[in-house]
Assembly symmetry: D2
Homo-oligomer: 252 residues x 4
Amino acid sequence: MIKEGDDILLYFSERSSWLLKAERGKSFHTHKGIINLDDILGKPYGSEVRTSLGDVLKVLPADYLDYLERMIRRTQVIYPKDMGYICLMANIHPGSKVVECGTGSGVLTAYIANLVRPDGRVFTYEVRKEFQEIARKNIEKLGLEKYVEFKLKDITQGIDERNMDAIILDMATPWLVIEEAKNALRVGGRLVSFSPTINQVEKTVEAMRTSGFINIRAEEIILRRYKVKSNETRPETLMIAHTGYIVSGRRG
Amino acid sequence: MIKEGDDILLYFSERSSWLLKAERGKSFHTHKGIINLDDILGKPYGSEVRTSLGDVLKVLPADYLDYLERMIRRTQVIYPKDMGYICLMANIHPGSKVVECGTGSGVLTAYIANLVRPDGRVFTYEVRKEFQEIARKNIEKLGLEKYVEFKLKDITQGIDERNMDAIILDMATPWLVIEEAKNALRVGGRLVSFSPTINQVEKTVEAMRTSGFINIRAEEIILRRYKVKSNETRPETLMIAHTGYIVSGRRG
Amino acid sequence: MIKEGDDILLYFSERSSWLLKAERGKSFHTHKGIINLDDILGKPYGSEVRTSLGDVLKVLPADYLDYLERMIRRTQVIYPKDMGYICLMANIHPGSKVVECGTGSGVLTAYIANLVRPDGRVFTYEVRKEFQEIARKNIEKLGLEKYVEFKLKDITQGIDERNMDAIILDMATPWLVIEEAKNALRVGGRLVSFSPTINQVEKTVEAMRTSGFINIRAEEIILRRYKVKSNETRPETLMIAHTGYIVSGRRG
Amino acid sequence: MIKEGDDILLYFSERSSWLLKAERGKSFHTHKGIINLDDILGKPYGSEVRTSLGDVLKVLPADYLDYLERMIRRTQVIYPKDMGYICLMANIHPGSKVVECGTGSGVLTAYIANLVRPDGRVFTYEVRKEFQEIARKNIEKLGLEKYVEFKLKDITQGIDERNMDAIILDMATPWLVIEEAKNALRVGGRLVSFSPTINQVEKTVEAMRTSGFINIRAEEIILRRYKVKSNETRPETLMIAHTGYIVSGRRG
């Protein structure tokens, strides 16, 4: 049942859907017309509502991935294809203690925080105060703030935490943090670094070898999308061919 | 500190490492020689132990990913590159209620169970009793059995659960289950199907369209590995070029 | 030395260059200003000429690939990455006798004609008269018309030629032509078919198997471009991820 | 009709076929049995011949590509996917004058020589005498020796030719030859370099920029093969994921 304060998704078509809070006494404006939110409160999810212009919208419960997709569309730092693999290679799960740098707009922070609940924690480093504020708002909107500790600090100056299960780096100069990352990880803990250029990969891998990391891998995740239609199935013509490389390893 | 009953990893090199339980009064045989497990109990993780042949092994805490990697090496059904993306597209996180079919050797079951802890649950369908038994042992070894309900049932005969957050299909004929999967999902819930051939993708997408799923996507995750060496960096020559396609969508 | 009637390329930058004939008594207008063509006649290639707006253009001899690139930019049917491999798999070289269908705007026709000179020949089929006329003009502009026989005919109604070295199909329904293609090829001759969808590939391969072709292959050529810059080298972000599949085989 | 001295291919199956010369008075031994070559002389191509063990082989005319494939299988330096694109980007066609380095076993030399016939020429540099001898034999076997000039010389010591249409480099240190390559090319001529590592690409592109080359591109050709079977079509599992990068440009 749709309750006051719920995060909802109004769905018209693949291209037109809206994310909002179900609030009493409010109306919501779209290019398909206006709807009165009181009309949907108390109805079951999946119900349909008619706009002032006569179009029919379906009410779905918004989930966490809806927010992530919106955030990703605006900031475009890290893609889902990479997030899924990064978290797997960092072995992130309920209870994990994770250091992340940098926070950016908090997209990856939110994804990790959601996975480490309820006993884990994300310590996220950022040097730019304005980004930290954006990230904090995003994380609060998702109700994940109690799993996140925001740190306004240059991580190359040192990592405060010890005995971490995982460290995730999405920063310009990861190789400057490798030795300190090793000290912050527990034995067997996992480091994952994401970088757009191959030169960053070379320097990061080199630093990891020097610091004695084991199971070092440099990889790239490529996502190919298909247009599926009976008798006309083919890969999509245009594709995001590169976002970044993923380097991973483990404190030996 | 290494305690009796811990899962440990003895690490010699990238190619030689062993996964075992630290048991009192036992010895462990490798081609690098024998070690007496009593010698390591009580020592801190990261300690080194000398084998009867004089080689030095490092003791790491085995984690969940170590087991997965071993299981994957033996059964080769689903690869980490696909698991990470499947779970992201299914929006799996602590608390999720998930139906999975088929269980197979339980590799993906374990990965999901580990993510939905402590309040979520995996209902996993399998028709071959011998596979279910293998999977059950694997899941128990990882201590995840209380998050998993094993079902010995042909899923094309119906799904018992309702109001699921996600359904994950890794089976030969996913299109036969789509309509029933819709009924088992909550509104807004997510379906993800993994299939090796493009023909399966065509039939699955068609069935999802017929059943009214939204946000339908057909995608493929390709992992490329790099050999990184100063001044000689290049992609690896041979690669696993195809495992399967990932179809996803959402109950509208 | 630049002579009257030469095809020349005026080069200003990677984004601004112009293809034209060096004609006496004419001027040429660009957004960088006007140049008087008489000023360049008789000068060596590589010379520079100043426009009325003071910009400096370099005069290069236009070659065949310049024209192809212009034609490709306008029509976008077949890409160089595919043309190179198609001609290799069809074993096209000086002297080859080749049937091609359809002519389209003549881009591939021109590429083949240029390779089979001076003793080979391209027999190119097309059903749409207006396309044939465009192709004829393109081929004449390149001076390759004596190596090409234009046929206004539906190839599914039969191939007139026999004892061909190669047949190249870039048409919607290649599978309808396979049996006749076999008859038109010499023993050992090569068939190559280009199709955008996987369903066309399935039907074409099936028809080739039925007709007894050997060495049948279904392949795809993917071109990835790199941005190379010291310390910032990476693949380009966007890429043409799919043009078509290339099916090839040989009359057994 | 099969004549004495013809290059022929005896075809039994996709995995078993043999390349040989049809010589009078000789027999040919295979694991399928022996055939008497006199039995096939004078018969039409496509005829079948029975071996001493009762198996039936088909006689096809061997072509140039058959030899190349055999040579490639033994030496594995350059793949067809790359050869086709390299020659296209170098704009090689009948009449082209081309410098190549190194000769290696002559696989690419042969491919180029075959395309520049009858008026073009390949000048091919090699420092290792034993390789030059192997290449010479390969080229002679294909009857292409009159289009090739073999040079036993270190190309970094200078290129003797001038006014070349194209220069193709497949060597460890292409960046050492760029300035000299520019001098050897005619204005508008094309340079193509093939290298396995990204570091070589960086140095080569940098040198080409310094030397004033235009239209510089760094690209990679990836070939993906498909298993096509009705209702079971999918990419092949294993693939050659990397051979080398192709850098190209033009003398401005």
